[in-house]
């Protein structure tokens, strides 16, 4: 996967050991799920490793992928040709697992990030809710929204490149405004990430899909720089 990971722990006690453990965990995850490493379990599975030799954790992750596919009208799919690539789910899932490891260590105030997706818990070192910015998809150096979150997950799906040709099957001639970036706030980062990924693939319908989910809010930015907010989004915005 090879993505930047940051861990900020606001509890003073045992923070160093917990951070070391968190990074060791992400290395372990990368070793198992990286499709770029030929020796990773997922690469060996794609090279024909018999199912009897798959780890229990891998089976769990793959069944979560199946479940997500069913819950998103097939928009979430890990098949790449004839290969499996669960990266789209593993990122959020691994952050979530790492967050649970921290909680088991008695750490309640932290902000964990991998590749632009967040799980926060408790309060920052200023004793306030965590503040997560949404990046301007047209300008990496700019923040266009600030969210305050206490125990939620925040994930953004999008693409920095011009890349989609989506049309409305009912109205193929009508041009539609493509979605540039979609940020989802959910009960945890695993849920936020998998639904952000699938909803982004739905194009302009994605924000309605997020609206239809209980406990989720979303902020979709189209190619014209117009954002669409779900009905409860504003309560997180500064």
């Amino acid at each position: 996967m090879g993505m930047p990971v940051t861990a900020e722990i606001a509890d003073n006690k045992r923070a160093a050991a917990a951070i070391a453990d968190t990074f060791a965990y992400f290395h372990e995850i990368d070793k198992r799920y990286s499709t770029y490493k030929p020796e990773s379990e997922i690469s060996r599975i794609n090279a024909g490793l018999p199912e009897a030799q798959w780890s229990g954790e891998m089976k769990t992750v793959l069944s979560l992928c199946e479940q997500t596919k069913r819950e998103t009208y097939g928009f979430f799919d890990i098949m790449r040709g004839d290969k499996l690539d669960p990266s789209g789910l593993v990122k959020g899932w691994a952050i979530q697992q790492a967050a649970e490891r921290l909680r088991r260590r008695g750490i309640d105030n932290f902000c964990l990030e991998a590749g632009g997706d967040f799980q926060v818990s408790g309060a920052s070192s200023r004793g306030e809710p965590w503040r997560i910015g949404i990046r301007n998809p047209f300008n990496r150096d700019e923040i266009i929204k600030v969210l305050t979150v206490a125990s939620e997950g925040v994930a953004t799906s999008g693409t920095a490149v011009r890349g989609q040709h989506i049309y409305d099957p009912h109205n193929p001639e009508a041009p539609i405004k493509d979605v540039k970036s979609l940020t989802v706030i959910g009960p945890n980062v695993y849920e936020a990430d998998r639904f952000a990924t699938a909803a982004f693939a739905m194009g302009k319908d994605g924000i309605n899909f997020i609206e239809s989910l209980d406990g989720f809010e979303g902020y979709a930015i189209d190619t014209e720089g117009i954002a669409t907010l779900t009905s409860g989004f504003e309560r997180y915005a500064v």
């Binding site: 930047p4 009208y73 098949m79 789209g88 632009g116 910015g133 925040v154 953004t156 319908d205």
Partner: protein, 157 residues
């Protein structure tokens, strides 16, 4: 006649059903595999972002001398399509990075079950300057670029 009408109705319903099914089953996240036929606008944009990234990598790796030649990186999955780059080394330095594959196409959108949705508020995005603890944003394509480039460079070592 009634029987005929009924069977026609059954056939038509089945046809409609399977049409709907085919739509809802289309995997949208399958890599598009479009290695050619890019619009010239896209290629130009790709190349200019590539050369700036290549400069960074070149500077960061001054200790390493690459062998001259042209090296093709592995295809890296940018999640919305594949990224594959080709690096040209001259005098031990990266002189060009070319995109061989670039996500510039997506399978068609599929109709999802649209329920009656409340009207959602819209706003124009605006820069903010408040303090934040972190920034959420998509990074997929740049990662795939780095993956493919580093695999090209490892061949040049």
């Amino acid at each position: 006649m009634k029987k005929l009408a009924l069977s026609a109705f059954v056939i038509i319903s089945f046809a409609l059903y399977s049409f709907g099914l085919r739509h809802s089953d289309s995997p949208l996240l399958v890599s598009p595999k479009t290695s050619s036929g890019q619009g010239s606008g896209t290629s130009t944009a790709a190349r200019s972002s590539a050369s700036s990234s290549a400069t960074t990598s070149g500077t960061a790796q001054t200790a390493t001398t690459y062998k001259d030649g042209t090296y093709t990186g592995s295809v890296a999955d940018a999640f919305y399509g594949n990224v594959q780059v080709q690096a040209t080394i001259q005098g031990g330095k990266i002189t060009a990075v070319k995109f061989l594959q670039y996500p510039n196409d997506r399978p068609n959108s599929v109709e999802i079950n649209r329920q009656a949705m409340p009207y959602l508020q819209q706003e124009a995005i605006q820069a903010q300057s408040a303090h934040v603890d972190g920034v959420s944003g998509a990074t997929d394509t740049s990662q795939a670029f780095v993956q493919s480039l580093s695999s090209a460079l490892s061949q040049a070592m």
